[in-house]
Symmetry: C2
Subunit: 145 residues, 2 copies
DNA sequence: TGAAAACCCTGGAGCGACTCCAGAGTCAAG
DNA sequence: CTTGACTCTGGAGTCGCTCCAGGGTTTTCA
C-alpha cells in the first residue's frame, strides 16, 4: 500500500502521515525497491486509532502513551483511564468558556443598531470600546488560562 | 507609562505587548531618553480593546480590521457586523463539535470496565481500537475542517 | 559608595500539529 | 517521448504567543 492509498483509506493527509512517522507515532513502513513507503494493514489500523484519538482532541503526546499501552498488552497501564478523564475535564472547561463566549458575541451583535453604509455609529464598535473600558468583565477573566 | 505598568494595568504580558506592536496592532509609543517605551493612555485603551476582542477569540487579523474601522470613524465599515457574525458562527460550530466530543469521551470512559493493575483488558483501549475500525464514526467526521 | 536586584532593550528560537514548498527522482498513459 | 501524477527529502511557514541570551539602565538597600 502506497502512501496515497493509505491517505485515502483513512482521510489523513499525506504530509500528516509522514509527520506522524517522524514523531514516532506511526512505525516506519517497509520500502519498495524505488524507495516508496510500503504500508501494511497494521499501519492502517494504527493510523485510524491515532486519528480517532485526535478526533477526541488528545494531544499527540497522550496518544503516544496510549499506543505504548497497546503495544504492551500484558502489562498494566494505569495511565489510560487518567488520560481520558483529563481529556474530559479539558473539554468541559473549554465548553464552559465557549458558552460564555457565544453569549458575549450575541450581545455584541445585538448592540449593532444599524450598521448602515454611513457607518458613523456602529453599535458594535462602541460596545467593544465600552467593554474594553470596564476593566474586569467576564470575557477578560476567561482569557486567563 | 513604562511597559510594565501597562502590562499590569491590562493584565497583558510584557512580551505580548511588544508582540502586538510588532504585528502593527499597537502603535509604536514614544521613547524616553534611555530608549524605554513610553506609553500614553490611548495605548492603554487600545490594548484593552485588543484584549477584549481576543477574549472573544477573534484572530489578530480580524482585530486589525476592527481597529482600522475605529481609526476611520467617519467612513463606512461594513466589515464589522460580518466579522462578529462570522465569529459567532465559528464559536457555534466549535460548540457543536465539542459537545459531540464530550459525549464520545464519556462513552469511552464508561467502557472501561475495570482498569485494574493487571490491566490486561482495559475497555477503553479496546473501545478505541474498535472505534478506529468503524471507518466513518461521528468523531472522525468532525475532525475534517 | 557600591553591589545586587529589577527593569528595559533587541533579535531570535520554540511550542503544537500540521501544511506547504522546492527540487529531484519514478512511473504509467497517450 | 513527453506529460502528468505520484513519491522522496529537508526545510520553512502558520498562529499567538512565550521564553531566552546578551546586553544596557535604574532602583534599592546595606
Amino acid at each position: 500500500m502506497r502512501i496515497k492509498e493509505l491517505a485515502e483509506a483513512t482521510g489523513v493527509d499525506v504530509d500528516t502521515i509522514r509527520y506522524y512517522e517522524k514523531q514516532g507515532l506511526l512505525p516506519e513502513p517497509a520500502r519498495q525497491d524505488n524507495g516508496y513507503r510500503d504500508y501494511a494493514s497494521t499501519h492502517l489500523e494504527r493510523l485510524a486509532f491515532i486519528r480517532h484519538c485526535r478526533a477526541l482532541e488528545m494531544p499527540l503526546a497522550d496518544i503516544r502513551r496510549l499506543l505504548g499501552a497497546l503495544d504492551a498488552p500484558g502489562e498494566p497501564h494505569p495511565d489510560v483511564d487518567r488520560l481520558v478523564q483529563e481529556q474530559i475535564d479539558k473539554v468541559r472547561a473549554r465548553l464552559k468558556s465557549m458558552r460564555a463566549l457565544e453569549k458575549q458575541l450575541l450581545l455584541l451583535k445585538a448592540s449593532c443598531g444599524r450598521c448602515d453604509d454611513e457607518g458613523s455609529d456602529c453599535g458594535i464598535l462602541k460596545e467593544l470600546v465600552a467593554a474594553a473600558h470596564g476593566e474586569a468583565c467576564a470575557c477578560h477573566a476567561h482569557l486567563a488560562h
